[in-house]
């Protein structure tokens, strides 16, 4: 039994008085795709942002490949913040893709993808751009390398953003609703890139409303509601009855919407 890629134990996140995540326990196996689903405000994006260390959890612990992320908790409940270099090293194991792409508008696609290779990894320009180009090729955009984000469609922008994260060779890819800002015709190209990544064995955590994608690609689906993890298991279990009543309700709204569109 190998170490899980990500282990989350008793994770709590509070913003002021409101508890956004309550005692989350979840293990994400290496090389698998794990989808986080749930209604808006259920805490799924916050959980993903905790994994990227964009939010600092209030208590509990996250380990990535067995290494603590940000905080270390001793068994008697004492919590220590790890040194910045350590945090940086563990964060480097993950790549993050945002709902709003967050490409830098003043750089070309190639500039976006090669930037961190140049400034963080200190690669010479030519070498950084060669590696960036290989990533753009992988997402099918090498002929858009010299386009600025404003000259690309939403789907193309998101693919550049995926290439940008992949360029640093992360072990785990985190996706925060990667297709929610795209119109339906453009979601396919992004989901295809993600399918390819999954087929290559990349560990992926995906916050998504694309139930179809979750059902067909995910190895594990976790359902969050009001900051609690209500259910986690393989798709075959989650779509089989009987389910958790709240999950039933949630999935039914998807079916209702589909049905009303057909009517």
């Amino acid at each position: 039994m190998s170490l899980p890629a990500i282990a989350i134990t008793k994770l709590v996140k509070r913003f002021g008085d409101s508890t956004v995540l309550q005692d989350i326990d979840l293990e994400i196996p290496e090389g698998k795709v794990s989808c986080l689903i749930g209604p808006s405000g259920s805490g799924k994006s916050t959980l993903l942002r905790c994994l990227a260390f964009l939010e600092e959890s209030t208590s509990g612990m996250i380990t990535i490949n067995g290494e603590a992320l940000g905080f270390f908790e001793t068994p008697n409940g004492k919590r220590e913040r790890l040194p910045d270099t350590q945090i940086r090293a563990v964060r480097a194991k993950t790549g993050m893709v945002f709902q709003q792409f967050n490409l830098w508008p003043h750089m070309t696609a190639l500039g976006n993808v090669s930037e961190a290779l140049k400034t963080v990894h200190k690669l010479p320009k030519r070498q950084a751009e060669e590696r960036a180009m290989a990533q753009l090729r992988k997402v099918g955009l090498e002929n858009r390398a010299n386009h600025y984000p404003s000259q690309l469609s939403g789907g193309q922008q998101q693919r550049v953003a995926i290439a940008r994260a992949l360029a640093l060779e992360p072990k785990i890819m985190l996706f925060d609703e990667p297709t929610s800002a795209l119109d339906p015709e453009l979601t396919g190209e992004v989901l295809n890139v993600m399918r390819d990544l999954a087929a290559e064995g990349m560990t992926m955590v995906v916050v998504t409303h694309e139930i179809g994608f979750a059902a067909t690609v995910a190895n594990q689906i976790s359902f969050l509601d009001h900051g609690r993890l209500l259910f986690s298991g393989p798709p075959s279990e989650i779509f089989a009855k009987p389910r958790h009543p709240r999950l039933d309700q949630f999935l039914d709204t998807y079916l209702d919407r589909g049905a009303s569109m057909l009517a």
Binding site: M96, H106, T119, L168
Partner: protein
């Protein structure tokens, strides 16, 4: 009585020297003001609550009092705290500090205008805070801060005329002195107006040129 600005223009070398002092004070004041203003805005953003409030209060005092009063306080009040300054250094310091207060507010707005997600993306990719400022935030805010920065530069040029009151031999002091000598005060003032206006106009054009250059590359997309 005839209106004859040519009387003033006979003293071209003196006007030139006054103009030179004004331009030096102005350019150095802007450079210092931009640098210090950027430092203040950056420190306020990342330096924590106490520093933010402290620097914020200082900026408010500098923006809330007339430049003339600040110049008087520094020039005549300075000696009481052991700060004896000649007119030119005194004027330069006053102008720079005044400029820094306003530029810091422009940069503060610039920082706020960059979508937080763009900085988070940089953070996730391992860029340090300074790398993110230099490579992401500053270039992204450049287009946004350029128009107000040029506008402030124009205001500073006109404010620099106030320094004539503490005997800085800049353009206004020089030309109005020529006017008094030649009994042609109105002509002197008229010549001054034309010179200031010409510099302002040139600055505005330069600003628009820079804006076009930048925006050709950077079509804002949030």
């Amino acid at each position: 009585m005839i209106f004859n600005p040519a009387i003033i223009l006979e003293k071209l070398p003196e006007i030139g020297s006054g103009l030179f002092v004004t331009l030096i004070l102005w350019v150095v004041g802007i450079a210092g003001g931009v640098a210090a203003g950027f430092l203040v805005a950056t420190t306020r953003r990342f330096g924590g609550r106490v520093i933010n409030i402290g620097l914020g209060a200082l900026v408010e005092v500098l923006r809330g009092t007339p430049f003339l009063i600040q110049v008087f306080l520094l020039y005549y009040g300075g000696p009481f705290v052991g700060l004896m300054l000649d007119p030119i250094p005194c004027g330069l310091i006053a102008l720079t500090v005044y400029a820094a207060a306003y530029y810091s507010e422009i940069f503060r707005a610039g920082y706020a205008a960059v979508p937080p997600g763009h900085v988070e993306a940089a953070e996730c990719l391992g860029l340090s805070r300074w790398q993110a400022i230099r490579r992401i935030q500053v270039p992204e805010m450049a287009l946004i801060v350029l128009p107000p920065a040029v506008n402030l530069a124009v205001i500073l040029l006109k404010e620099s005329a106030v320094l004539s009151i503490i005997t800085v031999p800049e353009l206004t002091a020089t030309v109005s002195a020529i006017g008094s000598q030649q009994y042609a005060f109105l002509e002197a003032i008229f010549v001054l107006a034309v010179i200031y206006w010409a510099i302002v106009e040139a600055t505005g054009r330069l600003g628009r040129l820079a804006e076009n250059r930048l925006s050709r590359l950077r079509i804002a997309n949030a």
